[in-house]
Symmetry: C2
């Protein structure tokens, strides 16, 4: 297990930081450990934090008025997770986040982030580019939902989250693809036959 | 019709800019006029530009392998538009953009944007926050696709794009909602009955 400074060096490997800046960031981030199936964020609570995933796997999910779960996304190693719509506006969560495996996260609050951005302007570029990538992945997901068959969406899922299938439950994947677990089984059988 | 400097003042009204900075931005943006039904961006071409919509309405759409169109989004006054996944990576467009009405746009290339960001650090924050809003709107759209009925998605569309319905064709809206134009008619009739 790396210490926080080593993790911070990994996260920000593409930008040049002085030692002072590195330590400011490392002292700002707070390590959070989650066991499998723990809740990180609960619907209707104020969203103050975003999290960097050092290890483990989490998922963000929405519960509709019939009680059905819809998985918006999974977060694996080196991803960031929050209910960003609420995080940006300091509003209340419309989604839940839970751990699917034991996880180690680094927590960064909105206030802490603003403080870091004021003191280390290079981080503006980092967080802008992070948002650009997140935006692109959402664009891909919207187009998949609109234009791809369930089987094609499943293949895209496997490509986006390699090695995740062993760790997550079938209904997590089905609720991400917008299909039933029965359809998921059929798709896997079809693909296995080649 | 405002001149470019006046439009730039409007776009960046929330940040403090010196007169020199304002003029640098105004001299960088290039005005583009489009007639209704003109193509702004064609699939498979390299995406170098993003556009600010001063007036008019455009749509970004994807054509699947069966030739069916899927509208990713509409852009109305005060929105920005591009194939952002390709724009960020200087890659090729996977979507088309066309004007639905006569439109006046301000064009900003990736290179020009990087140049502005180097010279006016305050713009980093502006473009980060713009990405945050765009990201949030995509998050909402993904959740709508997963969790809402076609009728609920239609109501959300009307709220997101007020006053747009008169300007766009029914098949544009249907291809945004992921339904047929017949379903769209049925939904409108149901809602009209109250």
């Amino acid at each position: 297990m790396c210490n926080t400074t080593q993790i911070v060096q990994k996260i920000f490997k593409n930008i040049t930081l002085t030692n002072d800046e590195l330590h400011l960031i490392a002292n700002t981030f707070e390590k959070v450990y989650l066991k499998k199936d723990e809740t990180l964020l609960k619907i209707n609570t104020t969203v103050k934090n975003q999290y960097y995933v050092y290890s483990g796997c989490l998922r963000t999910f929405y519960i509709d008025k019939t009680g059905k779960e819809h998985t918006l996304q999974f977060a694996i190693e080196d991803w960031w997770i929050s209910d960003y719509t609420a995080f940006f506006s300091s509003g209340k969560a419309i989604m839940n986040i839970e751990s699917i495996q034991n996880a180690t996260l680094l927590k960064l609050s909105r206030t802490q982030m603003e403080h870091l951005l004021e003191n280390i302007p290079a981080l503006e570029t980092f967080f802008r580019k992070k948002m650009e990538r997140a935006f692109s992945s959402f664009q891909k997901r919207i187009l998949s939902n609109l234009a791809l068959s369930a089987q094609e969406r499943y293949v895209a899922f496997v490509n986006t989250y390699p090695n995740i299938e062993q760790s997550v439950k079938n209904y997590h994947i089905a609720s991400y693809l917008g299909i039933t677990t029965e359809s998921l089984s059929r798709i896997r059988k079809t693909l296995a036959k080649g």
